[in-house]
Amino acid sequence: MRSGGPGGRPTATLTTASSRGARVAYLQMAGLHKRYGGVVALNDANLACERGEVHALLGPNGSGKSTVNKILTGVVAPDAGTITIAGRRVTIDGPAAAQRHRIAAVYQDLSLVDDLTVADNIALAVEPTRAGFVSRAEVRRRAEEALAPFAEAFDRRELPVERRVSELSAGDQQLVEIAKALARKPEILVLDEATASLRAAQVEVLFDVVRRLRDDGVLIVFVSHRLEEIMELCDRATILRNGRDVATVERAETSEAELVRLMIGEIETHERERRPEPDAEVVLRVTDLRTSRLNGATFELRRGEVLGLGGLQGQGQSELLMALFGADRILGGTVELGGRPLRLTSPRAAMRAGFAYVPGDRGREGILTGRPILENLTLPSLNRRSRGGFLPHRDERAAANRVVEQLAIKLGDLEDSVGSLSGGNQQKVVVGKWLLTEPRIVLLDDPTKGIDVGAKQELFTLIDALTAQGVSVLFNSSEDRELLAMCDRILVLYEGRVVDVLAGDRLTEEALLAATLRIEEVQA
C-alpha cells in the first residue's frame, strides 16, 4: 500500500504488508531539520520503518539521505526532530550512543583505519580485554567469526584477518566494513552505498546475509542508487527530495520507472539545439591515450560541439578529463590540438593550450573555501590582468562582476567568503572562473552534481552560449538523461577505452543503455 500520492506527503504513521499489528513504527524519525551554514540539508524529513524489513532510502544527490543516516548513527546532530525506537524516545548524541541502541552503520566513506589490521578494525571500540590487556586471540576469533559469512566474496577467498586494511582492494575493504558493522549484532543496520565497490558476485553474498538478518528481525536501512538492487532486495522504500520525504512505497506495488519519477519530480525542460555535425572542423584529436587508468582512449572533438562521456561510472570518464588537463601523468598516446601535438605535463600547460577544467569534487578540488568569491573567480586568469605582477583592483572587480552577471550568481558581496554561497552558486563560481580565461576546450566533470534545478538550467544555457562561440565542451555526467539532452555526440567508455560513439539517430536512451551494458540493442 502506498501512502501519499505523487506530489503528496505521507503522514508519519503507516501500515505495512508484513505488519505485526504495530501502530507506531519500530523506528520513527520525525520532523528532522538540519542546516550546514547556508545550505539546508533536511527540511522536515520523516522516516518510519519496521523490524524485520529491508527499507530503502532513495533520492537524488543532495536530497538528504546521507544526513538522515548520519543523524541515526550519531555522527551528526539534527537542528530539530525526534527519534523513537520501539515506542520510546531516544537521544543519539554520538556514535557511542547509537551503538548502545544497537544501531550499526556501513558508511559511504568507510569508517576503517587504514593502518590497523582488519581484526583490529572489527574490534575497534569494543575490544575484548583480559586483565586490562586486549586479548589478541579473542580479537582474532571475533574477526574470523564476523568475516565468515563473506568468505566466498573476498579476493582469493581467504579471510584477511591479520592484514592491514590499506593492503586490501576496494571491494574487500567494503566487505570488511560490512562485517565490522555486523559484528556488533545490531538491531538496526544502516547500509549507505555499501555496494559501490563490490562486484556482482560479492553483492549476491551480501544480499544473502542481509536477507538472513531480515528474517531474524533486524531492520536494514538500505541506501543505494542502483535501482535494480533496490527492486531485488528491499521491502519498502522512502523517497527523499530536497530534504524531505515525498513518498513511501511498497516494492511489490511499484516499479523502477515510478521510483525514478518520484525522485526526479519536475521534468527537465532544457533541450539543446543540435548543430549540423559534418561542417565542424576537428579541434582535438586524441589517439590511444594511456594513463594509470586509461587503456588507450581514441576520439575526436569538433569545434563548437558538446561531446558527452557515457558508460558505467568509473570506467575512466573522470580520468580522461584529468589527463587532458595535465593532472594525471600520461603514459602513452598523443593529443593534438589543431593538428599540433600537445605536451600536457601540468594544469598550467593545459591552460596555456586553452583547456579549462571543472572537477567532480567541488569542495575538495574546485573552490578555495574561506577565500572571498572575488579571489575564487579571478584565480585562473590572473596573468591576463596583472601588470608586472600587480593586480589593479578595479580590473579585478570588473572582471568578477562580468562573470557574476553572466551566470546570475546570487551573492551578497564579492568579498564574502565563497563558503557562504549555496551549492548551486558555488558551482557557478567553479565554472564561471574559467570564463575569464577564454578557453577553447572546456572539460566538465559531473558539473550538475548536487545542485538545484534552477542552477542546472543556467549551466546548460551557459554551455549553449559557449559552444555558439566556437568553444568545444567535453561533458561527463552521471545522469544519462542529461547526456542525451545536452550532447551532440556521446562517447561510451568501458575500462578506460572508448568502445562506442553515439550520434544522430542513435542518441536515444535505449541505444545509450545498450552501449553502456554492452549488449545488443533490442530492435523494437
Binding site: 583505519v113 590499506s166 582492494s169 594509470s292 561510472q313
Partner: protein, 339 residues
C-alpha cells in the same frame, strides 16, 4: 541521481593505496643507525664497553628516552607536545625543592614529579580536546606557562638531590646499569600500553580520527589520556634528570639561554621519534623506535664529544641526521602516483 548499471563482473583492481616499503624502511633504519653509532663510539673510545662508561651513558640517555616515549604517545594520536621539555623541567624543579637533600623525602618528591607531569598533561589535554585548540599552538603556549612556573619554583639552579639517589642511579644491579633498568622499565610500560585498549585507540585516533569517531571510539578521552600518559613519562624523565645531575636547574635543556625553558629536550624528543619511524601525522610508528632514536642521538653526541668538536656542532649533526632520516623515508622515489 544516477541510473548506474548493475555491479561489474570483472574489476581491474588497484590494490595498494600506499607503498608499504617506505614504512618498513623507516622502522628498520633506526636500528641500523643504532648499530652504526654504537660501532663508531666503540671505535673512538677504547673504554666504551667498561662498566663505568656504560653506566654513565645510560644514565645520560634515560631522560631523553622517557621524553621520546612521552612525545611518541602524543604524536601517535596526531597531535604534538611542544611543552614537553618545559613540563619535564617543571616536574624536576618541584621534586628537587621538595626533597631538599633529605632521603626521607624521596617518596614525596617522586610522587610530586609524577603528579606535576600528570597535571601538566591534563592541562594540555583539556586545551586540545575540550577547548579544541590546535595542539601545536596550545602546547606552544603552555610551554611558557610551565617554564614560568618552573622559574617561580626555582629561580636559580640549585637544590640538592640526596647522594643515595645519584649513587644508586649510577650503580648496577645484576650486572646491568640501573639506568638501563629504568630504560627497560619504560620500554616495558610502553609495550603494556601498546597492548591495551588505549594503545589501539591511540593509533586509531591518529590514523583516521573521523573513522575512529564514527566507530564509537571516545576520541576526546583518548586525546586527553595521551597527554596524561605523556605527562607521566615526563615525570619519569624529570626524576631521571635529577638522579643524573644531582641538583635542580630551571634552565635544563633550554634553547638559547632562557629563551625557552626545556626547548632542547622537546626538540630532541621530536627528532628521536622521527628517526625512530613514527609519523608526525599520527597513526603509525611506535615508541620502541623512538627509544632507539633517542639512544642514537645520545651516541652521536658522544661521538661529537670525543672528536673534540664543540657542542654546537652537535646541533648541526643532529639536524642533518633528522633531515636525512626523513628525506630517505619520505623520498619521492619510494612513492607512486600522479603529479
Amino acid at each position: 541521481m544516477t541510473t548506474a548499471g548493475p555491479a561489474r563482473d570483472d574489476v581491474a583492481v588497484d590494490v595498494r593505496r600506499r607503498p608499504q616499503r617506505a614504512a618498513l624502511v623507516g622502522q628498520a633504519m633506526v636500528f641500523v643507525l643504532l648499530v652504526i653509532a654504537a660501532a663508531a663510539n666503540a671505535a673512538l673510545q677504547p673504554t666504551f664497553f667498561t662498566a663505568y662508561n656504560l653506566s654513565s651513558m645510560f644514565a645520560t640517555f634515560a631522560p631523553s628516552v622517557a621524553a621520546a616515549v612521552a612525545q611518541t604517545i602524543v604524536v601517535l594520536t596526531g597531535a604534538i607536545d611542544l611543552s614537553l621539555g618545559a613540563l619535564i623541567t617543571l616536574a624536576s624543579v618541584v621534586a628537587v625543592v621538595l626533597v631538599d637533600g633529605d632521603p626521607s623525602k624521596i617518596p614525596l618528591a617522586v610522587a610530586a614529579a609524577l603528579a606535576v607531569g600528570l597535571l601538566g598533561g591534563l592541562f594540555n589535554g583539556l586545551l586540545v580536546a575540550l577547548v579544541r585548540l590546535q595542539p601545536i599552538v596550545a602546547t606552544f603556549a603552555t610551554t611558557f606557562v610551565f617554564g614560568g612556573l618552573a622559574l617561580t619554583v626555582l629561580p636559580q639552579p640549585g637544590g640538592s638531590v640526596p647522594v643515595e639517589v645519584t649513587t644508586a642511579y649510577r650503580a648496577a644491579t645484576l650486572g646491568v646499569p640501573n639506568a638501563l633498568w629504568l630504560i627497560l622499565l619504560v620500554a616495558l610500560l610502553w609495550v603494556a600500553l601498546r597492548r591495551s585498549r588505549l594503545g589501539i585507540h591511540l593509533y586509531a585516533v591518529g590514523g583516521n580520527t573521523t573513522a575512529a569517531f564514527a566507530t564509537g571510539v571516545r576520541v576526546t578521552r583518548v586525546q586527553v589520556a595521551a597527554y596524561l600518559v605523556a605527562g607521566l613519562f615526563a615525570g619519569v624523565a624529570a626524576l631521571a634528570i635529577l638522579a643524573n645531575t644531582g641538583s635542580g636547574d630551571p634552565y635544563v635543556g633550554s634553547v638559547g639561554g632562557a629563551a625557552i625553558i626545556g626547548g632542547e629536550l622537546t626538540l630532541s624528543s621530536i627528532a628521536a621519534l622521527v628517526i625512530g619511524g613514527t609519523a608526525l601525522s599520527g597513526g603509525r610508528g611506535g615508541a620502541l623506535g623512538s627509544i632507539a632514536g633517542a639512544i642514537v642521538l645520545g651516541l652521536v653526541a658522544n661521538i661529537v664529544f670525543f672528536l673534540g668538536v664543540s657542542s654546537g656542532m652537535r646541533e648541526l649533526i643532529d639536524g642533518l641526521i633528522v633531515i636525512g632520516a626523513l628525506a630517505f623515508t619520505g623520498a619521492p622515489w619510494l612513492r607512486r602516483g600522479r603529479q
